[in-house]
Structure formats: structure tokens, C-alpha cells
Symmetry: C2
Subunit: 399 residues, 2 copies
């Protein structure tokens, strides 16, 4: 696996030699071409669907059974790492090669799927789940092309995007191997993460209005300082998120203060609030307590808070209990340590959960670092993950 | 006075009709020309010094006595108001006119001074105090011209800037009438502010370094969130500034967080810290307690704070006790209410304090608003201020 990860890392570099295999760019196309070649060599019947997803089919004993699918993605964020997506893609390919070597024909047909433009918003898997809209095709992607133009550039057909959709129940299962992108497995010295679900994400633009004034002539007790109120809010968000049990996370990741000078009391602050949890209800309960804290701060400071809900939520996606059990059994059989966990990041499996039972296997990220050239997963951990993926697919096949 | 304030407000407008009498621009030059004409009509001998300051001389009975000076400035911040500078300039002119009407010849020679580019950094008065450097002449001013080019544009001679300097002790006194630019007089329903001094100002660029990470996959207890640490710092600054007695002010007026996205924990935050007080020592004691608070926050949050002192301090400038007493006596004589106060904003009197005993008279700003088109001071309050200025100058003359 390490060799193939290294080979993939050669595709897509920016002018400074940093990884730049952004979806729809030359590097992305070159990596896809390389990978399709390997898929064909592994005996798969390879096609590109209308959304630009690569689908490699392997026949099963019983053509009437619904296919078992597995795979990941090959595209990368700018200046990203070589393991996010690649580990699951290479692991899926080697699964097929091992079946070939051992002359195993599964009962179910198999599909190895490489989704297009995962990093840009899980566009390929969204299209497969039937929810990539006409508007989304018009949006500019990181590559400079619109999503529609990008799909065309990688061999899809955006004009017939609806044909990329698969019906609910058409697949027996979809299982994805992926790096954790967090530091929990490493911290606990565990080898396999059994993903219970992919968290939901909600965003609010928060605006704090005070009154801009001269920082020299306005006494402390006559100020309506929007930045001071915003600072109290950021602290309050952290307090509310951490004071209840659970794995929910809350982040204020961006802020701007106006007019923004040493000597002017800020009259307005804009900031971004993000909440994530596996439980949609819990996110909204948390938001209500945060909103109450904001009201208290506003009253005390003579400021005003406005929350603008960003209507691009990612709903939580739970994985199949049955597949979770098979992942656990596979880990145990291989003598690997494991824990149940949630995925804090979005994945193609999240979209696929709308049309099929899904499973997700995590392997450790060194230092919990991701979306960075420092992203790293040890060869042994990748192999463990691929091994668990294989055993899980075979267990699904046996059922 | 209201008529002349209105007349001055016509000089210098931007394309949207907003006030734009920025130093060295067409509007500034037109207002200066208009005002010099009025000064000459009032019998003053008008010259422009090498720094572009307008100086109008009126002979006294005893040419051997050192002149008593008074005045203010005519330039304006972009989109500024019509009272900052203008009230003191018009008040000074009407003082001369009243002396003329009453055929009063003072013992001391008098000088009405209109300083150049007050808003850009009290450049004219700094030059008169002998501290406008060669480097400062090369700096770009708000007008687009360098300070040197600007001085030339208004009739000065930047190549001989040193000749604009007045020796320490060359003037008997300098007294400035100005709007308060804060809301204290209005709040206390008082008519005259007797300025005890102009606060010192110190600036620090503060950088907070944490570790940027994925907002979904990084649990709350594994974060080094630079923005959360910065928020705690902003709250701590406010606590430290307000928990000791006194009129000191502390402001965080600008902030930026990197990379600055909903879904990334900020790895770095830059912000600006400003402290002002009449007591230089107190500013630095306060800074030390703030620095300690930052260290505590850093240790608890796994972040690092760096303070970069901005070497453009304004040292506190105390006004003359003797002139303060004369202002009080003048207010009492006119039946006006008054209070002692500090100036939180910088003024030309601050520079003049380096070479002469200075006094400053404040009149109320409605709503405490300044540097805004909403800036307003009532006609009656302006007249009261000019009246106190006149009586103060006459009292100094009698001494």
C-alpha cells in the first residue's frame, strides 16, 4: 500500500511542489487515469458515471444479488496530504487483488467506487444519492471550473447528472476505509475505529452590533464594545459545548471587527459559529443555550447579537449496526484493538447512507493531523485497515 | 460662531458629499485661504511657517514680553465632523475680533496659530516643538502626498522644517479651545471642561499562536485554539483596566484570525492592544498585569502570546496648573459649571506642552460623538468656550 500511496502522491503538485490534486485539475485527472489502469489490471470492468465517479465492477456468483460497494476518493485539498482518500482507495483496490490471488468469487457482485470531488463537498457521492442539484453544478469549484465543467473534464456528463443517481436499496452495502483525521486512536493506542456515524454540521453567521467610538475619549463604562461582547460570546460557546457530556464540538473559526483600528472601539463584529454532533437534536439544544448566553451578554453590554442560520447543513448519518458488528468481528479475528467512535469530518459514506446501509473503518492519523502535508498514517495501520475492510466485505457477502 | 462653522463646513467634500477636508487636499487649502482672509480682516499679520502652520500676530503693549498663543486646527478626518478643530479656530479668531471691538491692546503680543495636519499626527505642532523628523516628512499622508509634499502644497518649506521649531520658553503660554469628543460633560450636564492633561497612548501588536486543526475531528480537549485564547485575553484586558480606580482606558480595536473559516480551529490570531492614561507609569504597570494574564491563558490553553511594542508612543502631557486655575476663574466669572477632566484624545496642545505652559478648554459634544458627520456642539456651548478662552488669555496677560 505504501508504494501506491507514494505513486499517487506524485500526481498533482503546485508551483512550489506542494500537493495540489484538487478535483477536476490535471493532477486529479492523471491520478484517476493511473488508478483506472490498476483497476482494469485487477480485472474490474471500469466505467465513469455521469457524475464523474469511477465504478469498477466485479461479477459475483449470483448476478441477482445487489452489489456490495466499497471505495473512497482520490482528490485532495490544496496543500493537502497523501492519506486522506488515498488509503481507502488503495485499500479497496488491494481487496480486489487479494480476492483475485485467492481466486475468491463472492456471491454478490462487487463495486469499487472512486467518488469525484469529495473535498469540494462530496459532489460525486451526492450525485449518486440523487441530491446534487442543478444549482450545485453551476457553483465555481476550487479548480476554477464550475462543478458541471469539472465533471465534464473528468469524463462525466453533467447534462444527464440524474442518471448518476442510484435507487435506495440498489446496493447491499457501502463500506469506506479512511484515515481518522483526528488524534483519538493514536492517543488511546488503538488500531481500528468502528465509526458509529458521521456528525451533522450546522453553521451560523453571528453579527454583534455595538457602537463604534473613540478609544481615547470614551470611558470604559460608556462603551458598547462589540469585540468585547464577541470575546465573551466565544468563551461562552466553549463553556456550553464542554460542560455537557458527549463528543459534540463547537468552534468559532472566523472573526472580523469593524472598523478595525487600534484607536477605535469596534462597532460591529462578524463571526462564524459551527456546531457538530451525531445527534441533530443535541446540536439545536446546544444552540439554544448558546443563544441564551448571547442574549445575557448583549443585555449586559448594550450590544445586539444576530444569528443567521446558514442553510447548508450536513445532517448526521448513522452507520449500519450490522456492519459495525462485522467490523468489530473482523478486528477481533485479526487480533486488532478497536473502539467505537464518531467521524467529526464529512465523508462520501455520509451521502451513501441515504441510499444504502453504510460502514466506515478508521485507521490512526499520526498526531491527528490532516489536510496538511504533515498528514501521515503508518504502513502497518493502513494494512490493518485494508484487512478489516476485506473481512467486513466477506462477512457482508456471507450474510 | 455658528455661521463661520457652517461656512467652513462647505470646504472639502468627497464625491458623496461627505466631509473631506483632509490635510493638504484642495478642501484644506480652500478653508485655510478663507480663514487667513478673516485673520487679516481682524488685523492680524499672517504668515505661514515652514511646517505649514498659519500664524497670525497681534502686537502687544510691550514687545519684549513673550507672546501668548492660542488656536487649533482646520483639517478633518475623512467623513469627519464640523466641530473638531473648527470650534477652537473660530473661537480664537472671535477672541481677536472682540479685543478689536473693545479696543483692547494686551501687554503681551498675541499669536493665533492654526496648526497643519493635526489629524494626521499633530504634524504642524510637532514641527513647532522641534520633533518632526526627516523620516516623518517622507511618510504618505491621508491626502496621497507625503507629509513633505503636503507641507509644500499648503505654503510651507519642508526642506527647512527645522526653522518651524520654536525654542522652549519662547511663548508665555498656549491655550486651545476644543470640543470634548467624549460624553462626560453632557452626561454630567456641565458646560466647561478644565483639561488637566492629555493622556499618553501606547500600542502593542499581540499575536496568539495555537495550532490550526480540523474543527470536526479535533475533540474539545485536544485543541490549541488561538481565537479562544484571544477571546479570554480580550476579556482579561477589560477586567484589568476596569478593576483599578482611575480614568485609564484599554481597547482591543482590531483582530484577525487565521486561516479564518467556519470549519478550522484558528491557529493564529493577531490583535491590537491600546492603553491610555495621564500617568505613563500606570500604563506600564497595567500592561504588566495584562501580560501576566496572557501568560496564564497561554499556559492553560497550549497557546503562545507575543507582544510587539509599537514604537510610536504619545507621552502624557500635563497642562499648566496656573492656566487651569485661570480657566476655572473664567468659568466661575461667567457663571458656567465646569469640571476637571483629562483629554483621552491627542491634540496639538500635547506637542506644545513640550515648549510652553499649555491650557485646554473643553466644551460638550452632543452624544459624545466625534470623527463622524454626527459630531455636534451647541452654539451656546461654543460661545461659552470662546468666552472662557478670552478671559483666560486676558488673565494670563495680566499676570
Amino acid at each position: 500500500m505504501e508504494k501506491r500511496i507514494a505513486a499517487l502522491s506524485e500526481f498533482g503538485k503546485d508551483a512550489n511542489g506542494r500537493g495540489y490534486r484538487v478535483a477536476y485539475t490535471k493532477g486529479d485527472i492523471a491520478a484517476r487515469t493511473y488508478f483506472m489502469d490498476l483497476m482494469r489490471k485487477a480485472g474490474l470492468e471500469v466505467n465513469i458515471d455521469n457524475a464523474g465517479n469511477i465504478i469498477g465492477k466485479r461479477k459475483g456468483e449470483n448476478p441477482l444479488l445487489k452489489p456490495i460497494a466499497f471505495g473512497s476518493h482520490l482528490d485532495m485539498v490544496p496543500d493537502g496530504g497523501n492519506y486522506d482518500g488515498d488509503v481507502g482507495s488503495v485499500g479497496a483496490l488491494e481487496l480486489v487483488e487479494i480476492l483475485n490471488e485467492n481466486k475468491i468469487i463472492t456471491k454478490h457482485p462487487l463495486e469499487l467506487i472512486i467518488f469525484s470531488n469529495e473535498e469540494g463537498g462530496t459532489d460525486g457521492s451526492a450525485a449518486m444519492a440523487g441530491k446534487l442539484s442543478e444549482e450545485a453544478l453551476k457553483l465555481k469549484s476550487q479548480s476554477g471550473l464550475t462543478v458541471g465543467e469539472g465533471i465534464k473534464a473528468i469524463g462525466g456528463n453533467p447534462d444527464q447528472i440524474k442518471d448518476a443517481a442510484r435507487a435506495k436499496g440498489e446496493l447491499t452495502a457501502f463500506v469506506e476505509l479512511h484515515i481518522e483525521q483526528g488524534g483519538l486512536l493514536e492517543k488511546e493506542k488503538l488500531q481500528i475505529g468502528v465509526v458509529e456515524g458521521i456528525v451533522g454540521i450546522e453553521h451560523w453567521e453571528v453579527s454583534v452590533e455595538g457602537f463604534a467610538n473613540h478609544a481615547g475619549t470614551t470611558p470604559m463604562n460608556m462603551r458598547s464594545d462589540a469585540l468585547l461582547a464577541a470575546a465573551k460570546f466565544i468563551v461562552a460557546v466553549n463553556e456550553e459545548v464542554t460542560k455537557i457530556p458527549g463528543r459534540q464540538v463547537g468552534t468559532v473559526g472566523k472573526i472580523s471587527a469593524m472598523p478595525g483600528a487600534f484607536n477605535v472601539i469596534p462597532g460591529k463584529v462578524n463571526l462564524g459559529l459551527e456546531l457538530r454532533d451525531l445527534d441533530h437534536e443535541k446540536i439545536w439544544q446546544l444552540f439554544k443555550t448558546i443563544e441564551q448566553r448571547a442574549n445575557t451578554i448583549a443585555t449586559a453590554s448594550g450590544t445586539h447579537f444576530t444569528f443567521t442560520y446558514q442553510n447548508n447543513p450536513a445532517k448526521p448519518a448513522l452507520t449500519s449496526k450490522s456492519i459495525q458488528e462485522k467490523i468489530v468481528a473482523a478486528a477481533k479475528k485479526s487480533g486488532l484493538t478497536y473502539q467505537f467512535m464518531q467521524s467529526g469530518a464529512g465523508h462520501d459514506a455520509q451521502e451513501m447512507a441515504m441510499i444504502a446501509p453504510v460502514g466506515m473503518i478508521f485507521v490512526p492519523s499520526v498526531g491527528g493531523i490532516s489536510h496538511s502535508p504533515k498528514e501521515f498514517t503508518k504502513g502497518e495501520d493502513m494494512a490493518n485497515g485494508a484487512n478489516v475492510l476485506l473481512k467486513t466485505i466477506l462477512a457482508i457477502d456471507q450474510e
